[in-house]
């Protein structure tokens, strides 16, 4: 148990680990994405109310789910880096932020595209939409703070503190946005809510969620490898690893 944790703090080990996992993860992600999207887009039944436009759910919901999980992954890496001062956790946090922001942006854009035929407007102040937008700005804040510092070790510590403060606040923000929504909006356009989704639509959705998690992991590893390469460009182990 302790050995694995020690190994996770060692850049050469993690670099090797990424090298070993990526050749497996890449085809797995590709297959899951292809199977999930063809199943969802071609074979899942048409919704009786929304027609085929509902099918964007197979991109929208997985992106939204993973973007929230991404923030917690980033904050956890930040906590590890803050408490144990592990350089690798810094790099992981830095690698996770832009990916999470991109997933949040995908969720927002697909949400807008979905909103046009169903709600009749590109943008509706729905509780979930608003929460996603706030999450996007929390990501952007972490990235902007990181870019503001010249000393990247200090920047990583600042970002770790910020993402932990954000983690404490996310549940409060989500609850308060729900509260705000219930005060200001009629409940008529809330159609996802508690309405049960049929199994024939649910399974491809679950498949796509798994595929998006795999995609997140894959992008995280690629990004991490890239930052390891630039961070340890002068180190013997990396030169040896790349040249042989």
């Amino acid at each position: 148990m302790w050995r694995i944790i020690h190994q996770l703090g060692s850049p050469p080990w993690v670099y090797r680990f990424c090298d070993r996992v990526i050749p497996w993860l890449l085809p797995l992600t590709a297959v899951a994405l292809i199977v999930g999207s063809t199943w969802g887009l071609l074979f899942a039944p048409t919704d009786y109310k929304q027609g085929d436009s509902y099918r964007i759910i197979y991109i929208h919901v997985p992106a939204a789910v993973v973007s929230l999980a991404g923030y917690y992954i980033m904050a956890f890496a930040g906590l590890v880096s803050l408490v144990w001062r592990i350089k690798l956790a810094d790099l992981a946090m830095r690698a996770a932020a832009p990916i999470g922001a991109a997933f949040t942006a995908v969720a927002l854009i697909t949400g807008a595209i979905w909103g046009k035929p169903t709600w009749g407007a590109w943008w509706v102040w729905d509780a979930r939409v608003t929460s996603m937008l706030i999450l996007f700005f929390l990501y952007v804040g972490v990235i902007a703070l990181f870019e503001a510092y010249d000393n990247k070790t200090i920047a990583a510590r600042a970002c770790a503190i910020l993402s932990l403060v954000g983690t404490v606040n996310i549940p409060i923000i989500y609850k308060s946005v729900d509260w705000w929504y219930s005060l200001h909006q009629p409940a008529s356009i809330k159609f996802t809510g508690s309405s049960a989704i049929d199994a024939s639509m649910l399974y491809p959705l679950l498949g796509m969620i798994v595929a998006f998690y795999a995609l997140f992991a894959l992008l995280l590893m690629l990004n991490l490898k890239q930052s390891l390469t630039s961070e340890y460009a002068q180190s013997n182990w990396l030169i040896k690893r790349i040249t042989t």
Partner: protein, 231 residues
Amino acid sequence: MTDQAGIDTLQYLRGQTARHVRLQLASPSEIVNPLLFFLLVVILFPLGLGPDPERLALLAPGILWVVALLANLMICMRLFVDDFEDGSLEQLAMASMPLALSVIPQLLAAWMTGGLVLSLAAPLFGMMLGLPVSAAPVLVASLLMGTAIMLLLGAVGAALTVGVRRGGILLALLILPLYIPVLIAGTRALDEALHSGDPAVALAFLGAGVTGGLLLAPLAIAAGLRVSLEL
């Protein structure tokens, strides 16, 4: 309660608070400027929306709260800058008193000369927007607690950005998303008061925010200041 150096903690906190308040009072523009900003932005709304009193009264809770939030952001931008530049913040961080405790006097002083003044002046600006006088107590109560929470959250951002060049706009980017729950609860309290509902739930939410913020924020502020001081 005394620490190793034999300093009475409460006496120290009281003395420091008085010192910071005196420092603020020595430069009155620091107190007056956020107030003038508050007034000016409130004036912009009738000019932009038209003078219809009914519509202004309808929008008054939101306008007052958003402007108070922005004025509070201005206060937060100045929070640690002077102490950072003249080195006294570094001395504070090296002292035997935990930094999470020794930043509290400065926050308290900043609130007394900032948030407190804004909250007490707000009913006046509310009247200009046609907010009924009966809503004034709830406006003041919600702002008293809201500005305290916003100062605590803003101080975390200020601590993280004080060492950064042109940190002001960055501070806004970091902190504004965190202000959203405060804004929602504050306007909700006012709306309830205006529509003869019960503002107690929203006010209790703000009270819980002050308590939780006082417990957690000083730790984050101290950690942020240590990062900025590169200690």
